[in-house]
Symmetry: C2
Subunit: 227 residues, 2 copies
Amino acid sequence: MSTAEQSEPKAEPRRPLSRERVLRGAIELADERGIESVTMRALAQQLGVEAMSLYNHVANKDEILDGMVDTVMEEINDATSSISGEWKSAMRRRILAARQVLLRHPWATGALVSRTSDSVPLTKYYESLIGLFHAGGFSYDLTHHALHALGSRALGFTQEPFDDSQEIPDPAALAQQMAAEYPNTAALLESVTHDADTTLGWCDDQFEFEFALDILLDGLERHRDAG
Amino acid sequence: MSTAEQSEPKAEPRRPLSRERVLRGAIELADERGIESVTMRALAQQLGVEAMSLYNHVANKDEILDGMVDTVMEEINDATSSISGEWKSAMRRRILAARQVLLRHPWATGALVSRTSDSVPLTKYYESLIGLFHAGGFSYDLTHHALHALGSRALGFTQEPFDDSQEIPDPAALAQQMAAEYPNTAALLESVTHDADTTLGWCDDQFEFEFALDILLDGLERHRDAG
DNA sequence: ACCTGAACACCGTTCAAGT
DNA sequence: ACCTGAACACCGTTCAAGT
């Protein structure tokens, strides 16, 4: 009637370690505390083991990062591969579904763009997008350009060099303060924050994502019809 | 007639250290050997000094990274701020000029998207783009959407989750090998590598960048005219 | 005011030793 | 076959001491 008592954080019931469990643990850690807190020692501790044990199941830390990305890509494939229909609508729904997966793993976009080795689930994802374009009347050549044009948007994310996620406590004050040196930026800020449809933050990221996505899909369709 | 002989690598004639010199040294190091080789110790060595001396001129390593990005952004501002004319052509030329600067500093795109603090030269750059859009008949609201739609492309770069920079030694063989599991990808690969206008690598990144940029600028113009 | 040696807390990783 | 303690080479950073 007595199992060993243990008060370690996250102590799962001590199943044997495996590559699978190492990757799941790493993803859990990254989701909860950020990718930078995924260290060999912290990951081992969460799994109730010493850091060195991890090397029995993965070659090194890079392989963990690659494995984490692959796991997320499989999640995306599960969420998107069955979405079909008219090419533009299907493409749109697939990409937005991929986006939902990535929003659950904020660290994954950075890991995706920085990895160099190629990934089977990533290749599968693109294989399926390519099929969708081709079935929609796109030549393979135009499909190739289309994938470049979409860039990381094909997977449901963009990376921008400014941070719009933060709330602006007093937009009017900020605009006034910027007005002297940055008049256009101040005017934009004032206009945008007065607008009814952006009440969430000062940017509705989902709206902006779909806005750009639709411009690209429409533009690509025009190229197809002109070709 | 005799200056002290010294055989250290990169030994500049021992000017006094300064924040300016620290940042220039860091950029030089990153350009030549990659951002991951910019460590406090390596940077100090290149400057002919001990690692600890750097802390007299910058607060910490993050401030060095921020300073490196700001320096590159100033280079971009110098290269773009005088480009004017009809909005679409001017926007296009500015963005392509920014791209040329970033191609000289391959590490800068990664540093740009990962930094959180806001940057004066980055704000200046966007101030000038906003001005160009507004002068071109865009409302501030539409300009805001436009900047989101361009994303990092406004600065001349994209980040894609696959690497097309590598040469494919034998594309036909690769296509045949992929054909069973990834038929669409194989067909795309075969079509693209047979094509005359992509003889450089298997992707002409400059072409792809302009292709997507033009779709976006044209699409934005349509929105302006429809509004 | 600027530079430095020694030290600290943290990495990823190796290796010989345990079971 | 899997796990571990001790150790190594490397980080960024602090601090007291030098000039």
